[in-house]
Amino acid sequence: MRATADRAATAEQYQGVVADSRWRRLLAANGPGYLFLLPWLLGFLGLTLGPALVSLYLSFTDFDMIRSPEWVGAANYVRITTADPKFAAAMKVTLTYVVLSVPFKLIFALLVAMALNKGVRGLTFYRAVFYLPSLLGGSVAIAVLWRQLFAGDGLVNAALSHIGIQGPSWISHPSYSIYTLVALSVWQFGSPMIIFLAGLRQIPTDMYEAASLDGASKFRQFYKITLPLLTPVIFFNAVVQTIDAFKAFTPAFIISGGSGGPINSTLFYTLYLYQEAFGNFRMGYASALAWILVLIIAVFTAFSFLSSRYWVHYDD
């Protein structure tokens, strides 16, 4: 009897040791990895995943930061999409901005990159000059400068008056204000230009040699060689720049003094979201706006990747 109990005890102990050493092995194999990952993991759980879930919940509530959130179902989403003229205005402004600024920016970037690609003397100088605005462009100082450039008594009108044109006050005119922001974005074509330049350098020169031996014109070479081989880079730039354009905030905020005016003509989506959240403290409503922005970006990205099958060439 006693012997059996003893045996059982040792068996238990033995199993304990096995389990223990299994744990130890598991820890030895995975411990260092998770230890190094720990800061990011904490940040991901506490600052990304947790908040994202909370924000999803808040988007179905009324929440003003004073009283606790009150569940309202899909009411926020319904109101945003059916009965919110400011949302409609913000969508219109943002889409106009995206549709105008991204293509123009990319076309400029590609043209300049092509001009610089063919062994121009002073390449580093030109590249630096064209890149500088996109490095400085995100700051308030540049938005301040832009506000002056396109003011009624600003530099652009002073230049126009030399050739006898009396320009309007561009930034305070509801029909023109958005174009000053588009111009600011296009002015910062430097970083897509550098990516295009890197892409152009990847195209083997013997392709052009062969093409010109066959008598293909420059235009035909561009159309048949450069453009197709550059499509992955064009695709990348287009996606990155579009997502960025959807998230633009600072220039509109500074140029309109935070209002998105005149008459909501510079009310970028993110500016509207900011006003709702931190001006009116409608945190639930603003959370719903944030999730709609995610949805828009996700749909756009998914659409780009689906369409890329038909126009992006990945054959190496």
């Binding site: 190094f36 908040p51 001009a115 121009v120 500088l132 605005p133 002015w187 890197a198 600072t250 905020f253």
Partner: protein, 294 residues
């Protein structure tokens, strides 16, 4: 930065792609005109900042009739608190952000690039996924969290997340670089009984200075220029960064003191311009290889 694109950037183009003389004159003329157009607003702002006040709007020319630094003096103390304070605040936040990003992101990047552990690919995919999520989605709950912690109106909400590798983009950048470092080096060290920590500290980091510098410079510039974060978390003028100071200046003096405004605007651009002058190569290679947005 060790991959093909960078070397392609550096490679000289072959003769076949060179232009004829007339063509290259046309190209240079166009490029010079474009350069002038690009730089004109910036140069004009700098020149306006050293012009006598009454001359700022009277001319579109870049050369002032006389150099006058009074705009800088006026602008520096144009608000209740001087710009010295704003510069100091920006500097503190930027340097702490750089530290946080470099430390936390390199730790995570080392784990992803070199260490084996269960769930590595899963977490890596999650990390890449977080790059796609606009920060607006986490903004409001984060704000509520920091408010409850009593962190609003301090630099903590702007800095602490960086020590938790919240700028996951830099993790990605470093993983790419770490993967290019020959594995034999750390395998040999491991044979000799080196711990993961020692390999990270003694082998990976010293060999990764270029990518660490790129990450440091970009995080400095982005933090220095950041407007949204400080706008939300800093409310007392005491705590303002340079970007908030500038914004307050615009609002308070939009028509009266353009000289002071341009002087301070110019000053805020100086650190970024300095990085641009001295680390251009690093910045451009960083963009060419990873497609960073700015």
């Amino acid at each position: 930065m060790t991959n093909g694109i960078t070397s392609a950037v550096a490679a000289p183009p072959s003769d076949i792609t060179k232009r004829s003389l007339p063509a290259s004159i046309v190209v240079h003329t166009l490029l010079i005109m474009a350069s002038l157009l690009m730089l004109y607003p910036l140069l004009w702002m700098v020149s306006a900042s050293v012009r006598p006040e009454n001359e700022i709007f009277s001319s579109t020319s870049l050369i002032p009739s006389s150099i006058d630094f009074t705009s800088y003096v006026r602008g520096w103390s144009g608000l209740d608190i001087t710009f010295g304070r704003f510069f100091w605040n920006s500097l503190v936040i930027s340097l702490l952000t750089v530290t946080g990003n470099v430390v936390a992101c390199s730790l995570a990047a080392y784990a992803f690039a070199r260490l084996r552990f269960a769930g590595r690919n899963f977490w890596f995919a999650i990390m890449l996924g977080t790059l796609m999520i606009p920060y607006h989605v986490t903004l409001i709950p984060q704000y509520v969290l920091f408010l409850n912690l009593g962190w609003v109106n301090t630099i903590l909400p702007l800095v602490v997340p960086k020590f938790l590798a919240s700028d996951a983009f830099f993790i990605f950048l470093m993983v790419q670089f770490f993967r290019g470092i020959p594995r034999e080096l750390d395998e040999a060290a491991m044979m000799d009984g080196c711990s993961a920590w020692r390999i990270y500290w003694k082998i990976m980091l010293p060999l990764s200075l270029p990518v660490l510098a790129t990450a440091a410079i970009f995080s400095f510039i982005w933090t220095w220029d950041d407007f949204f974060g400080p706008l939300i978390y800093l409310n007392d003028m005491d705590t303002y960064t340079i970007q908030l100071g500038l914004r307050t200046f615009v609002d308070s003096s939009s028509t009266s003191d353009w000289g002071g405004l341009f002087a301070m605007s110019t000053l805020t651009l100086v650190p970024v311009f300095f990085f641009f002058l001295f680390f251009q190569r690093l910045l451009i290679d960083g963009i060419a290889t990873t497609g960073m947005k700015r």
